[in-house]
Symmetry: D2
Subunit: 289 residues, 4 copies
């Protein structure tokens, strides 16, 4: 979707809300020859925080690309207490996918990847089971198995982290990876691990949400993609959706219907992350248009 021809910078920022803050930032870009092609902002009036995503073309921008962060930091960040991240549309982020035995989410990710929908590189798939090795082969992506037991978990995760670094991975997608990731692992990738949970959180946290949904007799099932934090299924929510069910649907039907939800909700979450549309603040997300 992104315009690949023109190099752009993307600034995601938040700061205490204050009069004229939009003008300050847009002026910095305009005055220095940047052409703003995107601006979306939001003011949280409860927390009194201003959020903005702004993107501009660099062709005529007088500040060199590798100095922008420094300049913006020096000139504005301290003065206005701005917390920001700067991205460039010509950098291709590297994403690892973790899977277990079910293939619907990974296939959905790879179908988009292969079609060139996303500005991303997937160098590696990691699994705790060998079942989906074939998927890696089909799409020419390295596939590594790290079987996890209570005893070897710490060690295996260390090996995974080492491998993720070797592959230069920027963020991780848990595509129905049925294994809880340790706090140590999560701390390596803060707000950079995206999980899909097969319920409309906060309902049915933890294992077997479809069984719990069946037991409760709900008329809707859901799925939630979220950043992984050290609290189980409690991280910042990126995307949710639901499907209607009825008393006729067995647990097996819920699982089957849920798969379509899971894969779409996960892929939408991943897409927003790749496109730098997500800003996290205090366990919640701001999702720019």
């Amino acid at each position: 979707m992104a315009n690949k021809q023109n190099s752009t910078a993307i600034l995601l920022m938040h700061c205490p809300d204050q009069p004229g803050i939009i003008a300050v930032v847009t002026d910095f870009i305009n005055v220095n020859g940047g052409n703003i092609i995107y601006l979306d902002q939001h003011v949280d009036r409860v927390e009194n925080i201003f959020f903005m995503r702004i993107e501009w073309e660099l062709a005529a921008f007088v500040v060199p690309k590798d100095k922008i962060e420094d300049y913006f930091s020096t000139l504005y960040a301290a003065k206005y207490q701005i917390y920001f991240r700067l991205y460039f549309n010509d950098y291709v982020p590297r994403m690892a996918v973790f899977v277990s035995r079910r293939s619907h989410c990974i296939y959905d990710l790879l179908a988009r990847y292969t079609a060139g929908e996303w500005n991303v590189k997937i160098p590696v798939i990691i699994s705790n089971h060998p079942d989906l090795a074939e998927v890696g082969k089909r799409f020419d992506i390295d596939f590594h198995v790290f079987p996890i037991t209570k005893e070897n978990k710490q060690e295996q995760e260390k090996a995974e982290i080492k491998m993720l670094r070797q592959y230069g991975v920027d963020f991780i997608v848990l595509a129905r990876y049925m294994q809880i990731v340790s706090e140590d692992f999560i701390r390596q990738y803060p707000n950079r691990i995206i999980n899909i949970h097969h319920s409309f959180l906060p309902a049915f946290i933890g294992a077997k949400p479809y069984h719990a949904a069946f037991e409760r007799g709900v008329k809707l099932i859901g799925a939630t993609s979220h950043y992984v934090t050290t609290d189980l299924d409690a991280g910042p929510i990126i995307e949710q959706d639901i499907a209607r069910i009825s008393h006729k649907d067995t647990v097996e039907v819920l699982i089957h219907k849920g798969q379509d939800l899971e894969k779409i909700v996960l892929s939408r979450g991943v897409e927003k992350h790749i496109r730098r549309k997500v800003l996290t603040y205090k366990n919640k997300t701001v999702i720019f248009n």
Copy 2:
């Protein structure tokens, strides 16, 4: 929606699943001159229970209306372990509405009622606050206030039950009645009190669900209509729906958006109840088409 011209009987039943059970019941009706105009059935293969709703015209039915229950009971219910309820489309059930201060649900119910959409009579509105007395006046429906305190709750509920009997009330709709109903009260109307809860249960049980949804940063809000049981917000679910929200929505916006959900989800639940489309089994509902 119901055909008012022809008198019909409606049988809601469940029994252990067994070969030929549909034929047994349809034969009883056909052989005796009943014209079946509706049949919907469901087999729960986990519990091994057969559920059916069947409706037939009585014009040429040889069993007198007031003997059908007796005959069906004697001839089939014991033999096949059938639990059943029999209704007639020409009986107008009497519904009481309980309210507090917010009017959106009661107006939605009364708009449908006044337009003649439902085969129901609403003889009385009961409230724990006087705020909506005007609504009763507008629609010419008796409006009674029973202020509830910790001290007088038992006594007030007794007075309410007495009044409900005087009005010949068959079932009760809690239209955003912001007061927990006691177990004693509930036991008087088993599966005959319909509540609207302003979340997609089982998420956000209890008070202030929109505040909790805001805190959690969900991307969907919901509403649930359910029968009231002695477990808070845990009774059989009749209907649920959701609306999409975003980080831009304050608690006030959630409350505002939620009102449309609440009124529609409550009215749909009430309509299904009035039309005898709901069968309750083990804290879950079977909703016939």
Copy 3:
């Protein structure tokens, strides 16, 4: 929803897209002591048009309220080719409702109106049939009947326009008013007549859309609220929604299910209009958050 305590100005504008245009307008407000509490903007990159809605508190704004339009016009509008409208949150717009025989939409509007949800005054209901006179009485709103025939249409519409002026009406809502309004009438209220059409336009334009939907065997029905233009059912769309149906649903069921859609979709459209969230451009709408 609107903050009634502080007086605010709302500017809706569009102009050819040009660098720094946001800064120009926000500067005008900031420099003159206005506190911006809302800003949403959009750039149409096909038409190359910039759209913005901006709202600011007037308490400390140095330009007198009745001079803002003049100042903004002189200082900026000509220079930047800005087309704009200025509103004040303390003006209560006056809305007329047109109905025929079905009451679900008018009740939904009046329930919200009566609950004080909207910053609007409804001084008059106009109908081509006497059927809903009772609704006017219930809510203490003047109700006038203008029966329309081929012969008297021109004359009756003239009388209606005269009456609308007497009531000081700013905009009109056709709440299932089953009568085509003439081009002359429409020209009196450009983009100020909101209609509800009972299909997902542009499918099933014209009369009897539910019958047409049934005939076609669609699996969804819809409703569309839109501004009325001189092309039948072809004006700018404000809001649409759908409901799922099945082969089991007769035309009567479609009509019944459709009513919930119609009233919600109409009320959402009206609310957006009242809250000055809609900007019309070339037969399409920009809907601000």
Copy 4:
């Protein structure tokens, strides 16, 4: 989802509605030792037609599998004017997929196929362009290109039909096959060609529906899976769904958002067809539960 362990027969039928018709058919099965595991029926009271899908286990059924059609035909079909089709769950239908250049639909089909979700065999993919040859290779499915021009269309379609016969194809899925199929071709596969159209039909029939949707300024986009008939985009609808869009969405975004709709709506339609849940009657479908 189907139970593969027990051999079952599936009867899809319709006939003029008549008293006792359910009992007639269920008796035939019960009396002869069949165990009914599924029954869903529908009466169209406008056309006065009775529809039923019934499935029973064959283990103890006394009529030999290859005689059931004959017996049912002789004993009942003529007498009750029943039109029926008989299927067996242990026959694996053979499906051909037609594609052009976009891969999202074919990947969604193949992901489900590879995961073993469907009781189907896909022996061949046919395309009018070579672009997706790689997909065939990845999933080890024969891929054949038949470039179509005005001049060679008749001849190429003949070659396609010959090939489809060689592959023993039972039905065809047009997975964004951007080429109109001729009437001659369609007549070879009546109600056995499933297409995905990228709009909520009947809106935006024909080419470029997303462009048309953008032009019209709709707030929803849709997708429709339907059987192909000789009227363009006018065949019996199996499944539809929509997604919400806004003024911010360009045609490119509509196309992108629409892809998720298209693939899910097509796969749902295909699944219903494979599971014998669709009965076609007079250009409309009955979809059993």
